[in-house]
Symmetry: C2
Subunit: 155 residues, 2 copies
Amino acid sequence: MTQREITFRLAARNDLPSIVRMLADDDLGNERERHEEPIPESYYSAFELINHDSNHELVVAELNGEVIGTLHLMFLPSISFQGGLRAQIESVRIDRRFQGQGIGSEMMQWTMERAKKRGAHLVQLTAHKSRADAHRFYEKLGFKGSHLGMKLTLE
Amino acid sequence: MTQREITFRLAARNDLPSIVRMLADDDLGNERERHEEPIPESYYSAFELINHDSNHELVVAELNGEVIGTLHLMFLPSISFQGGLRAQIESVRIDRRFQGQGIGSEMMQWTMERAKKRGAHLVQLTAHKSRADAHRFYEKLGFKGSHLGMKLTLE
């Protein structure tokens, strides 16, 4: 019996190429990311902003020393809900080779526990309307699709 | 002819009672806010967090010296989109007495211009599925309802 050794931790700078590879590796991501070697400097600049802001946590899942999952957890102070702290999750990815094994679910559970400990009363996220499998995945975790997520590109 | 004098600016601490009154004054808000005098201290604590974080801007619309609109603009550093900065808007409200006069639209335009100047490539928001009028309002401004917004309450 193979022992699966998965750990979840905050990302380090040298995890970025693996993270970008996963972000680029899907239908929506491959149009907007640039996964090349070395990855563009703009990814590192963004990492530094995230890494120096205690409201942002870039999370990775590591399997036997290899980074195979990622998400971006953010804490949003808010006036609404009586000044309640919200958590938001963006850019959730599991390496294509390891999908469907429950790793994404474990990573989300780990992250939601972390958000709860920090005092967040709510976790929110959006998923593209076309991603029915993602909707089912989040519903199983207890999320309710109560909102319409709207976006506008600034030019 | 009456001259309408609307200004948009960042909120000050003493604008909070007006802001909370607007947040509480709708079907969804009145279950989760507490608009009383004085407003609960938790609102002030949240304001201080927002006010001391350069990624957060609490905006108000002022008409002839009275606060009649609000929204919360936030800037989110992100790895995705090649490390692009996102803007997000939450808690948009116009005082019931002044709705339907284009003030919300002006407030949004002012805010999107601000997000653009800061270098955000995208503005995102969510609106409850039941708020068809809000969907039309944001669509007129150029937003596309491409995503499902999902939430989970942490207990």
